[in-house]
């Protein structure tokens, strides 16, 4: 249990998927303009990342490994992710329309979010157990949420007070902000590890 908790904290602080592994940057850049979109997207990401990791683990360990087809795990993972996202969207739309309008609209954007695939790939590379996979996936997604929420709040603040040089507006200043945050997050280095 303690191990799982460590893994969770590590995935947020020391091995933050956005700030350390630099993943999920496209939505990070485009959806961090307001807190509203950032929050919606990150909740959707938390849900999908955890769900797909939980689905991919049994598929990998119960189907691909016994049949010695580890070679194709990328394809399988990405298909599973795409299908899951689509299914979740359909279910949401049918049964939970309010949820759909708040978070569901971000689902189509998630398929191409590298975080989702990356978490599943990390799960294979680091040979996590099922519980560890779920915990790591959840932690990573929460870490991504923390990062994008900070940047979104900073962006909103900058929209009010900032006077960013023209060429820096948009992507570039987000990179700089993320860089400084990443710099600060290095302070957690050595505190906990994902292994």
């Amino acid at each position: 249990m303690a191990h799982l908790l460590t893994l969770f904290i590590a995935a947020i602080l020391t091995h933050n998927i956005a700030l350390t592994y630099l993943l999920g940057m496209c939505p990070f850049v485009s959806l961090s303009r307001t807190r509203k979109t950032a929050f919606g997207m990150s909740v959707a990401v938390i849900f999908v990342v955890t769900l797909t990791a939980a689905i991919n683990w049994p598929i990998y360990h119960l189907i691909l490994v016994p049949t010695h087809s580890e070679l194709i795990y990328y394809i399988v993972f990405i298909i599973v992710i795409a299908a899951t996202v689509q299914l979740v969207e359909m279910i949401m739309e049918r049964f939970f329309p309010p949820l759909q309008s708040a978070f569901g609209i971000f689902l189509p954007l998630i398929t191409v979010n590298c975080t989702v695939l990356a978490v599943s790939v990390f799960m294979v590379l680091r040979e996590y157990s099922f519980a560890a996979t779920v915990m790591f996936a959840f932690g990573s997604a929460v870490g991504w949420m923390v990062a994008i929420m900070i940047v979104a709040a900073i962006n909103e603040r900058l929209a009010l007070v900032g006077n960013v040089p023209k060429g820096l507006r948009g992507t570039a200043i987000i990179m700089i902000i993320a860089g400084i945050i990443a710099l600060a997050f290095l302070g957690f280095g050595g505190m906990v590890d994902v292994k």
Partner: protein, 409 residues
Amino acid sequence: MKAVRSLLDKLYTVPQLARFKPVIGAADAILYGTNETTHAAPHVVDNIDIKRYMSLVIVALLPAVAAAFFLFGWRVIAIIMVSYMAGGAVEVIFAIIRKHDIHEGFLITGLIFPLVLPPTTPLWVVAVGVVFGTMFGKEMFGGTGRNIFNPALVGRLFITIAFPAIMTMNWQTPFASGPEAITTATPLTTFKSTAQTSTINPSVVEAGTEQVLFTNAGAVKKATQNPQSEFAGVQVYCMGDAAYEKAAHHRRIEEGKASRLVSYGDLLIGKEPGSMGETCRLAILAGGLLLIGLRVSNWRIPVSYMTTVFIFAAVGSHFLPAKIAPPMFQVLAGGLLFGAMFMATDPITSPFTKAGKYIFGISCGVLTVLIRSFSGYVEGVMFSIVIMNAFTPLIDQMVLMFKYRPVKA
């Protein structure tokens, strides 16, 4: 003085210097004040302006600068000069390109930045740090008043991560010079390394123990009173004067085997190695209290910051003495006082809501103790403040969200 006036007037009209108008304007404003009057109501305004506001911070920093000069010598002045020149150049270039006035905020960045550096920092590293800090920490966001992060800390953080060997291994013992004055340890480092090799606050000192570390006087008393304790040949380290006094004069501890790991009195007056400005805690306290008294900085952040560190360290060191240093030590050691008094209170980069200020201070305190105790870095003040700088807009927006209910139009 007439000559200066006419020289300035002449400079304004030289077409070749049109680009450097911000520089001339800044000199003019500093020398002569403004001739602008209010346009409409309020017709009479407060006499304070940003220049005075900022210069008061400099005044408050002067004790620390003087102490640094006294403790570490002329190098301090050199580092401050380099910081001002390199950072000032960045400021001037941006002011010229972006056609705005030179803002006074830089005066503080240029002084705070050198004060958080080890006195042995090579001058080129100082320049790299201040250039990076001013540029990435401030100018890219639009200059003073528009930045999100404390520029001095961003610079310091950058060179800490970029040049770990230089920034964490070379410290200078106060009042000393020459190669023998260089030490690798600050009090925080000493605690961390001693705690790793010693038995900490044992209630029974068992035979065969080589080193014990007592973090408070109570622990010394408890161990010495226990009849089963065996102090023969045991090296005893004590934190603070009270514990040391108890151990040094105790009959069961061998003569000369008790030593003082750190003296709180020395920390207070600055006799322990550390960054230039942060060693003399008395000078910092004087400056910080002056600022709070003048209402230039808000008391909420430093008070909540230091209280949190104290409480968290008190609780933590009770349960995990090997990791978390005792509270008094935490508050006095490292850059905590300096950070809490001069950097966490920077109004631009800390929350403007009252509740936000408390949240900021408390989070900074928790993060500082956590990073000091568990991460690979010895000092956590600058990390925690920059992390909380990043959270500042979020904190403010959350507080406002709870304070003001949305309106349906």
